[in-house]
Symmetry: C2
Subunit: 486 residues, 2 copies
Amino acid sequence: MKLSEPTCPPGNQSLANRALKRKLPGRLLEDEPNRFRASLDNLRLSFLPEAVIRVREAADVATVLQLANRYGIPVTSRGAGSSATGSAVPIKGGWVLDLSALNTVKIDPVARIATVGAGVVTADLQAQVEAQGLFFPPDPSSKKYSTIGGNIACNAGGMRCVKYGVTRDYVLGLEGFLVDGSAFQFGLPLKKYVSGLNLRDLLIGSEGTLGVITSANLKLIPKPEKRWTGMFAFKTEASALKTVVALFKAGFSPSILEFLDRQSVACAEQYTGSAIFPGRARSAILLIELDGRAAEVREQRKSLLAFMEDRTIGQREARTEAQAEKFWQVRRTCSQSMFSLADTKLNEDIVVPLEKQAELIRYTLDLKKEIGLATPTFGHAGDGNLHVHIMYNRASKSEAKKAKAGIHQLMRKVVDLGGVITGEHGIGLAKAPFLSMQHSTSEIAAMQAVKNALDPLGILNPGKIFDAFEVWDHEPVDVCLPWDHR
Amino acid sequence: MKLSEPTCPPGNQSLANRALKRKLPGRLLEDEPNRFRASLDNLRLSFLPEAVIRVREAADVATVLQLANRYGIPVTSRGAGSSATGSAVPIKGGWVLDLSALNTVKIDPVARIATVGAGVVTADLQAQVEAQGLFFPPDPSSKKYSTIGGNIACNAGGMRCVKYGVTRDYVLGLEGFLVDGSAFQFGLPLKKYVSGLNLRDLLIGSEGTLGVITSANLKLIPKPEKRWTGMFAFKTEASALKTVVALFKAGFSPSILEFLDRQSVACAEQYTGSAIFPGRARSAILLIELDGRAAEVREQRKSLLAFMEDRTIGQREARTEAQAEKFWQVRRTCSQSMFSLADTKLNEDIVVPLEKQAELIRYTLDLKKEIGLATPTFGHAGDGNLHVHIMYNRASKSEAKKAKAGIHQLMRKVVDLGGVITGEHGIGLAKAPFLSMQHSTSEIAAMQAVKNALDPLGILNPGKIFDAFEVWDHEPVDVCLPWDHR
């Protein structure tokens, strides 16, 4: 199926801009720096919009959409632009709708529900919620920058999903606007709701292609009383990942269970200039957090250390919050530190069944040999959600070609293992070439029929999810984004 | 918007039946008893289908749908028929697709995922899962009969939602067939998945109107080590419901938190012939379960009993599992016991914000006075999800008229309080008159556009959710269903 695209005849854009300035004075930004900032996300491919609209209140969105319909202008919603897939990039030009000013937070500690503007930064919400003894678990690694609207648009995950689930699991209600500018409220700040077709969950993860979300009612849970963090070294990736399976078999329920392969550990150690387990051969690592009531954590810690005794070649536990933070810093450093291997990174977020993770890692090592490019991998081993990277130097045509071939092979392998091509980033532009590996023609046609039903003119974030796009054909821009060099 | 309906020209139905018998021998049942059984659900309005198709394997569904398309036959999917809203009733005739034979269960204790046929009975799944030390929390009161397919179709709730969420929160993947007979797999047995538009969650709660679900991958969690049950008596409904709010303020996280008003208690006591708190004036009741690690439950129990001390006029705790079961029996008896008040029941499952529950109960008591009909109410007070009933004698035209007016007033009040007209039953036929109280014209049009996109001919469960239907205009049948007289 070919989806519609807005047809903006010559001259329409400037008419639209003028109409917008008249109706919503002071929101339209046409200067180069603002357009450039809104032209890219963490994929770092830049497509300039015609203008950026900085909304001041939710009702502005209705006006913007009405004009977009009248003049045939593409509308791409945006929070912080920390998406990894290009889903926030205005690839068809038009307007970028900057929602970051919608940043109110209201917490109901009795119902344990927060009502939050789309522009609220995840970490800010978490801090406010925790001050009231409550907890909002979703923690994408971009949480210091990413907004709740963006998290919902791509159904963000993070490290705590193994115990607490993903963003979707915490969304009770959504407010926003359908493409024609009419307001919607799908779901409410209530714990149960089954009235009519569930467009709330259809919007979650739809990457801004079906409507504009302006605020959300989010479920909160009691804050765990106590946390404990341990780091465990393994001779090989396979032994680490077999231990993950054994942990679940033994009944453990860690709140975080992260894996780092030896390639990632090497990058992190080089970047920080210190060995993680000094004096030992380089090892694969599991980072584990336990949480809950103090007594429960004590008990689980004891069992875990006993369980790990014969399986690891080294273990460290954090005795203070600061020490724990240092452990997590190792994990967070990985992504950045990989650029010592090459200047360009293909960053995947595949998921495979827990018992297939060892096989997947074996495959990434075979791939490394085959294509001669580094394939450092780390990620959420408790979910089977691994960030596999292929590092290459962009100037080398042969490396770029090998990287492209390698990523296709990898995705095929993931699907063959019963996995999924994306676990928390979404499709955007970067994963669009692999959509048909994952889904049948009928499944894709059904998705497109739904897209057409809710956005018949194709105004909302056109060019995403379904359109052919080859990341490799586009030169990334050299830009320093807020989350670089943390 | 007017949705399409299948146009089955005269003679087509018998051609279709013949074609089906040829392609799938032995599945088609045309006899009166089977057609009658499939003609109704727990709403007890009977609309005879032309035939029942008892599928033997998932692939049968593709054949059925292909023929339904060719001949224009409505298809209504069915599990146990325990739906409360008429959503399983073949109101437009055609074929009923009986999925109860799809009853395989496969449990992966490492990934904590069960793969389950649509026809598996909820309680059977729970028993199998618990035998492996795991837990599938959703527990609709029909769980001894209801099937997983039906639970998913209406996003069933139950008593444990206050801590563990609803059916949706446990669905990772769905397999089944789109209306044209093409297979779908939306989601997989994986813990994270964000590939393409999320049609999985769109199908959950869609009451069989968008596709036919044949199996599901369900998330399991570790089985709580220990449970404790207590029953608390309050002078008034208001004091019980204020205590609910206070409990959450104080940080308690019960696994069940049920409320019974004095009208319900009176029915239950009359039905069982014994007083719940002997020797005391009739009281409103809270039934509370705590669960978790043994030490945590001990600690919470102690705090809870201290917290309740000055608030209650009586309290009992279950010292054994058998005693706990007796407490729950009181709650389960309520629904059945109400028929001592009148022969017909309007059974609602509204939700209001926790802090509005006391106001809602006050309203039901005012309504009782105003219309002169009993309004017994009980339900999931931890979720704000109350089952409000209006009892009337069907033969009395004046009572029927008052009941109808009363239920409209009640629904208006619920929406005014920021609530929702249905929390766990869905819309089906019974709540269709109230859909436009809950949703704007634009919201309903968006839902209908999605329905049209996925079922352009209107073959799947036609007449539900969106069509005007007046329960009061139809005579319920006098039938004994499996879950009666438990």
